[in-house]
């Protein structure tokens, strides 16, 4: 009891729970969440939602099939960051889809990771995927194995795995740092089909240069929905498109207003522009 009392007395009652200077962010967030929920509910009611083709993801099944035919393994690297990075979560979602394919094709899957939590989440993901396609007998916890937290120690081990195991397909999906080019070049040298996906702007050029297909930025987050064709995830993707449409609309309107102000010096349009730009202020 005393323990709970202590916890209760520590509750931050003096904190401000609502930051009114961020009311604009709240409104925008509500609009975006509403759009996402709308499409998710629409999808759940049975409405068919479609999204455009993503070339890199069309190649995933082909790559797994090739690995099966060649009797070689499939290497999946879920980035080099921990679970507190959304790209790692996106990578693990894609791992689920790739694991379903390897289970169906009976291909060997190898997922070396550099964070203990990613290993735990990865094992759960792969296990569920193998269960979902009715092949729990093929699942082995060692498929997802920990190497080391050290970035370049991890890379050195991955390079070793690549040149010794010679996987036929390499997937790099998640947050990558300086290791991106090292991995992609090694994969290239062993002749593997390589599909990469990251939202790290600095690393994307290396993947684009050295991999067969690259998922750029948000394509990584769309990939899990695309591969699984899960209705709820597709709905979420559609909702996010609404956010992009809002952004494009705001940019067009804002730039036009700014241009009119620059050309005419109109004080009325100027005040309109100031009011408009204030909507996108970090502190309203």
């Amino acid at each position: 009891m005393s323990l709970f009392l202590s916890v209760l007395t520590l509750s931050p009652l003096n904190y401000e729970y609502f930051a009114f200077d961020k009311i604009n962010l709240f409104v925008i967030l509500i609009l975006l969440v509403t759009a996402i929920l709308f499409f998710v509910l629409k999808a759940r009611r049975g409405k068919t939602l479609s999204i455009r083709k993503i070339a890199g993801l069309e190649a995933v099944e082909e790559a797994v099939g090739r690995a099966t035919e060649m009797g070689k393994s499939v290497l999946f690297v879920p980035g080099s960051r921990d679970l507190d990075d959304l790209q790692t979560l996106a990578g693990l979602s894609i791992l689920g889809s790739v694991a379903r394919m390897t289970a169906q094709y009976e291909a060997r899957l190898d997922v070396p990771v550099n964070r203990s939590l990613v290993m735990a989440a990865g094992q759960e993901t792969v296990k569920e995927a193998y269960l979902a396609v009715g092949r729990p007998d093929l699942y082995r916890p060692e498929m997802v194995h920990y190497i080391t937290d050290e970035q370049f120690g991890y890379v050195a081990a991955l390079e070793g795995i690549m040149v010794r195991e010679r996987p036929a397909a390499c997937f790099y999906m998640g947050a990558f740092l300086a290791e991106s080019l090292i991995l992609a070049e090694t994969g290239n040298s062993i002749g593997a089909i390589q599909v990469a996906g990251t939202a790290m702007p600095v690393q994307l050029p290396f993947f684009v240069a050295a991999c067969d297909y690259t998922l750029i930025g948000e394509e990584l987050f769309a990939a899990a929905a695309y591969l699984s064709q899960d209705r709820r995830m597709m709905g979420s993707l559609k909702g996010q498109d609404v956010g992009k449409a809002v952004a494009m609309f705001a940019i067009v309107i804002g730039s036009l207003l700014a241009t009119i102000v620059a050309l005419t010096g109109s004080s009325f349009v100027g005040s309109l522009f100031r009011a408009f730009i204030r909507l996108f202020a970090l502190n309203y």
Binding site: L3, K244, I251, A262, F280, L282
Partner: protein, 228 residues
């Protein structure tokens, strides 16, 4: 240079050459360096996690008196029992080691993933959505007291239209055909130009790292003279 410095220099030089030997092909020297690196770093990170996270953030917070003589900053503070919550979640993660109650680890994982998603939603909304839109609300024509600023106007147009085209590329609801296809193709061009610039910049940074390593090897070679 002391004897110890010399030993460190020699180990560093030998390890560098062992790792570089991978450029030729996989070989026993590389394997040795790789396994040593992985083993030492795994142990190092484990010890570091205990020293920098578990002792100061958990042990010292829950039981400050126990760290007397170890952590001076924590020994006079009051116990913070809120830290028992993450401790409990951490223990739940360890339940994976016991198959019968392994399912409990999902609770900890769910909290972690939920917290990450919730926290980053607001952060990304501010930095990757709102701030980006605001930075793009610029006039397409820039007029200064001296007249029309052609260069700045051109730069602004490239920025605004570049952002719109790139955004269209990331629009998943529409097939990239017709007008949408044309705009998204322009968007991918914008992205590729940006990637090209980033590629060159990063390669330059990597070359400076290589120079640093070669410089280290040079220092190592010079040490031969001191020994001989």
């Amino acid at each position: 240079m002391t004897m110890w410095d010399m030993i460190v220099l020699w180990i560093g030089g030998a390890m560098t050459l062992m790792i570089f030997s991978f450029l030729y092909k996989d070989n026993p020297f590389y394997k040795f360096a790789e396994h040593l690196f992985v083993g030492v770093s795994a142990a190092f990170w484990m010890v570091k996690a205990i020293q920098t996270t578990m002792i100061p953030n958990m042990w010292a917070a829950i039981w400050p008196k126990s760290v007397t003589g170890i952590l001076h900053a924590a020994q006079h503070t009051e116990p913070n029992y809120v830290r028992l919550i993450p401790l409990g979640l951490g223990l739940l993660l360890l339940s994976r080691l016991m198959p019968r109650i392994a399912w409990l680890s999902r609770w900890a994982m769910a909290v972690l993933i939920g917290f990450t998603s919730g926290t980053y939603l607001v952060r990304y909304l501010q930095s990757d959505f709102i701030a980006q839109i605001r930075s793009t609300l610029i006039p397409l024509v820039v007029v200064t007291p001296q007249g029309l600023d052609v260069i700045q106007s051109l730069l602004n147009c490239v920025l605004v239209f570049g952002v719109l085209c790139a955004l269209m590329y990331f629009f998943f609801s529409l097939e990239h055909r017709g007008v949408v296809g044309g705009i998204s193709r322009a968007g991918i061009w914008v992205l590729m130009v940006a990637f090209g610039a980033s590629f060159g910049y990063t390669v330059m940074a990597r070359i400076s790292l290589l120079i640093g390593r070669i410089d280290y090897l040079g220092e190592w070679l010079q040490s031969f003279g001191k020994i001989l």
